[in-house]
Symmetry: C2
């Protein structure tokens, strides 16, 4: 059994986990379709806009498990971000010609929303401008 | 390669996806430790209390992908619930002696929190008791 999709999923994962968003996006097809918590992302520009805020404040990420075959891979990881201390995620990807063409992205938005709300509250309490 | 953990993960999945929480919990070890969005769940009673509200309002669930080997399995699914129309989740499980002893559970709490807040708001607007 070959594992071409798993190889791509892991290369993509290790790129963004190392903070290199551009390298990660080289594994994403231009016309990628991704079901993510905020909704369906279509195209690599939408995908970049979705991933950029997360990767820019990433402290570290570590794999929990990764499996796959020639067409599909499934990866789960934990991550530490500046905003949220524990931010696990899971991604299922379909790969064609070495790039991710279809993706399902699962993570909990609740701690990110709470952290952002707390930051706004903190700013308001200090009376400073955003 | 045998896939004992995947077999257990799928049997557990199909049990709760069919609405049978008791059957699903037969695949969970008494001293399971599960990292879930609300925090770490310890023991099968905590696991049941976590899963019960979700399964009780489940409409349908369908697998997106499932992989595993003899010790570890990783499953992603989409689900429809009475509260939230689109509730995907992912679970990584470690299996020993036919039961899940360790688990990582990832899903987005945001739409559930929003739906509950809307219900409370709706009740308030109607002036009815909870």
């Amino acid at each position: 059994m070959t594992r071409a999709a798993l190889d791509v999923a892991l290369a993509y994962h290790h790129a963004w986990a190392g903070g290199d968003l551009d390298a990660a996006l080289r594994y994403i097809a231009d016309d990628v379709v991704c079901e993510a918590p905020p909704g369906v992302l279509e195209g690599i520009d939408a995908y970049r806009a979705f991933l950029e805020p997360y990767v820019s404040q990433l402290v570290s990420a570590s794999l929990i498990a990764a499996f796959g075959d020639d067409e599909t891979a499934l990866v789960m990881y934990d991550s530490v971000t500046q905003l949220v201390a524990r931010a696990p995620g899971a991604e299922c990807v379909r790969v064609a010609d070495g790039r991710i063409v279809r993706s399902w992205f699962v993570f909990d938005r609740a701690p990110f929303m709470a952290a952002r709300a707390a930051m706004v509250g903190s700013r308001d309490a200090q009376g400073s401008a955003p």
